[in-house]
Amino acid sequence: MKSADGVLLRLFFSLTLLSTAVFAEKPLLSLKGSYFAYSYDLNQLYGENVEFEFLGYRVSGRYMIINIVSKSFCVYGQVVLAGDMERTAGDEFWFFPEESTGVLLTYDASILAKSFGKAGETTPSALVRDIHDVSLPKIQKSMFYLTAKAIEITNSFEVYGYQVRLFVEGIESVGFRKINLTSGLSRRFAGITVDKIWFNRTQGLITSLSHSYDKENRFNTHSRVYYEEHTLLKNYAGLKRQLDIMTTLSTNFENNLNLAVNGNYNSSNLWNMNTILSKKWNERSSTRIDLTYNKPVQYKGEAWLGLQTSYAMKKMGEIAVGLRYGSGDQLLGSISYSNTFLKRVNVLMTSSYSKLSIVGSRESAKIWSSNISASFTSRIFNLSTDYFLNRDLLGHQKLSQPRLTLSFNQIDFYEGLMTFRLMNISIMNESLSSGSRQRSFSNNLTFNLGVKPVFIQKTMNLKFGFSLEQFLEMSKRNFTSGGVIVNAVKEFGKEVTLEGFYSVQSRRKTQGWFIEGTTSQDLSLVFRVSKTTGLSGWMSLSYDPKRNEWRTSFAELSLRFSQAWRFHTLACYDFLFKRINNVDVFLVREAGRFQLRFVWRSLSKQFVIELTPK
């Protein structure tokens, strides 16, 4: 146990040193100024009287705005770029540190643009973005914002502040000499990083490390090691420790050739590896070769070698072929062809064959399946037909399923006052197994008639809907369903509405001489308040006219009492049991990239504080 202690302590301090080494990442940009304000909620930065080095120039300006999310950087107001030999002044300077480009704008008799760095490759207008997106008052309304006297932005867009003061809901809080203000765009640093060292009573000691390497978007690799030590826990029933290793590697060669390798390992004797080589020959054809090995827990590992290729011919359609060969003489093959004729007829043909090992058996399952589908689209109707055939070569079973669908597009009558839709689907199933043949047939016809809202008064309208459906089976079972929906809306001003909804649905089943069926009715009322500012909500009441009883009532209320805080509640009342089913109460703070919620749920009698990223 003592040696385990020593190993853990050494691991602990090694990780601490590693994490310190990570913070020493070289900055992308070092900014000095009289005032900086950074919004954690919005991931935006505002600066005043700013100075920094860029492309060998000493850049200064009255104001600066940075949007980390969109990677927008701008200095404006009396901008000066001072080099060794030249000094250029302007009004607005947009720059992109990652690409070493910039454009300086001057508002004179015309808008003059001067490019810096590699900006000649792109038009200046493409570099300029909206300036009003970031402002100091907007940052100061954030839930968390920080002021600083100097800023450093790293290659991974982490923002570090010096002489920092934290403001929570505008109230001044603690200060920091140096602190990471943001979690950045990506947690992927170049080199080794410690993502997590944590201890909890359910998982024990948790450690997570990652390693990343990226070279000019041509070669990149990312690996992650996750370790759980359970021996520190009392009465832990599972494994003593668990290790997960995940790694991905991708390389882009010239001539559209890519190689990717993915690997995963788990200490419970589970691992897999996948190597993919893909080549895009031209805009119309591509090929992919992959080699996969998968070792599941308690089973023997399997290796697969696959080849997939597709070729798009101009007028002759597109053809795709796939072939995979697996250990144990397993085989998967597929071929597909698709094309469009005369702009309206689409054809798709697919065929596949599989020969797969059955666990615990020497035999293999051999299945051959094919599908042919054709569709015709016109302004009035759509007609499609498809034929599916599945053949189990081992079990000697065969399933074939031809299907025909005819649907009419929505037809409007009386200048759109009435709308009509009709659809019919016919399906035939035929299965052949051990010499016995089974055949079934079904036909489904649906008919919908709708009416546009009829205004009885200026503030009241009525809407009707009628639907009929017939489902016919070969076994002479016949289902007929029909329904009518009436919807009435009464407006009380622009922000208050009362909505009534009544529906009758009937379903009849006929089999020989026997007829059975059900009819249901539903009546509900909804009262809505939707003020653009302040209060909004709705309340619904549901009534069953057939049984002459009230069912349930739902209510939702939302009250915005400041620009960022909102009170929200949901409730449900059950008239049958005469009790409140549940009440949920929320207090929500919208804070840019995250949302803070204080929640109370009556059903679970729980009070929860949730911090959810958006």
Binding site: M1, D5, L8, L9, F12, T16, S34, Y35, F36, A37, E48, N49, R62, Y63, Y76, G77, Q78, D91, E92, Y107, D108, A109, S110, I111, D130, I131, H132, S135, L136, P137, T147, A148, K149, Q163, V164, R165, F167, E172, V174, G175, F176, R177, K178, I179, I197, F199, L205, L232, L233
Partner: protein
């Protein structure tokens, strides 16, 4: 072992926090005359001495007889000058108001709102994206674009 590790973790966190946390740091304050907002609208309304945009938007068509550019400037205790420069889609200067003096009378004012406008009836405005640059005390304080269709 777990207690020892817990103490070690807490100690490590405290040591890390204390090395960077400080109560002596004085927060810096922003300067005066902060441009809060630039908005475009066909009309401007007055509400308790503050100008507000009526139907603010960034796109105008032939039915709009004028286009107003309304600005809000925060924290004003000294006099300031404002200037609007309107640029056509060809990036040519269409209108320049010159320096307009706002005299605060040495009083501290929370918000100053002001606007400039171009008249569509008098001027044949070219279709496309227009730019307005707003200057406070001679330096660019904000810029925004709008579309004329």
């Amino acid at each position: 072992m777990s207690i020892r590790l817990s103490f070690l973790t807490i100690g490590w966190l405290i040591a890390n926090c204390c090395s960077c946390m400080s109560f002596k740091i004085v927060s810096s304050a922003p300067g005066e005359h902060i441009l809060e907002k630039i908005e475009f609208c066909p009309n401007v309304e007055e509400d308790q001495d503050v100008l507000r945009p009526a139907e603010p938007r960034d796109e105008f068509d032939k039915d709009d007889s004028q286009i107003c550019c309304l600005i809000k400037v925060r924290v004003v205790s000294k006099s300031l000058t404002l200037r609007w420069k309107w640029y056509s889609p060809e990036k040519k200067l269409w209108k320049d108001t010159g320096e307009v003096l706002v005299d605060s009378g040495n009083k501290s004012i929370d918000v100053v709102s002001a606007y400039d406008r171009i008249n569509r009836e008098m001027d044949e405005l070219a279709q496309g994206v227009w730019t307005v640059a707003v200057f406070i005390n001679g330096h660019l304080a904000g810029r925004r674009i709008f579309k004329v269709s």
